[in-house]
Symmetry: C2
Subunit: 125 residues, 2 copies
DNA sequence: ACTACATATCGAGATATCTAGATATATAGT
DNA sequence: ACTATATATCTAGATATCTCGATATGTAGT
């Protein structure tokens, strides 16, 4: 579990990547309640995801399928809130992937005689 | 091109991930030449990858297929060196993926009212 | 030119994935 | 209880992916 490779596989589908990016940008939006007060919202409903992905107000079983894949890969959380299912990004998952890539990057530098004398790409200069 | 999502897709296959990790750890190994001198090697031959993945000395068309996928995704380089094809990791690709994840991570923190008060996971404390 | 070797490409079967419609479940409001 | 709404699951067809054996290409050595 918590396998970065499975996470990459899940993120490797364009539809799922769109969903993931949408959740990253909207997982904890604020909304106005009926009193007009600003209230934090815990995540995004499946309906909102469907709307964003398909452009229609209709529920999409395809989106539901992809949300499940993202959940099984550990990339997102989904918990029921009354009638709604609310999705949010698992920040730990992002970190797992970043750690993996960091480790691979370090491995390259560690074994590359030549690379060690190169600038670390994107690193502080 | 240089799409992190395509890179994730390529890395999302366990066989390819193994190959990629192997290349990260061995893309610029040193070797002894016939005079016994230490010489840097530019990368890893396809044969060496096959050997690592399948455990046999035989060439594997499956490995060849996966190497092509990794190349098409931009994750590795492959150039001919005489009779051999020599593979190496594209460090820029690792950076593209890391940047993408960084951006998503930042997006989460940016929109999450709650998350902003949380410790950054894995960040400096 | 011939041979051995390293690798690529092709072709086909097995399996997995994606999509979308149909049906099922669960919850809130009446 | 009934109804509408939100979402999940099932099913099946279309497509993509993975694997592996067979064949092809290109290079080095004789």
């Amino acid at each position: 579990m918590e396998s970065p490779v499975l996470m990459f596989k899940a993120l490797g589908d364009p539809t799922r990547a769109r969903i993931f990016e949408f959740l990253c940008s909207n997982c904890c939006p604020v909304a106005l309640d009926d009193l007009g007060d600003v209230r934090p919202v815990q995540g995004v409903t499946v309906g909102a995801v469907c709307c964003h992905v398909t452009g229609s107000e209709q529920f999409s079983s395809t989106v539901s399928f992809h949300l499940k894949e993202l959940r099984l890969a550990g990339l997102i959380n989904a918990e029921k809130n009354g009638k709604f299912m609310v999705c949010s990004v698992r920040r730990e998952a992002i970190q797992v992937m970043r750690d993996y890539l960091q480790a691979q990057s370090d491995a390259v530098l560690g074994t590359c005689v030549e690379a060690q004398s190169l600038d670390p790409i994107g690193g502080k200069k």
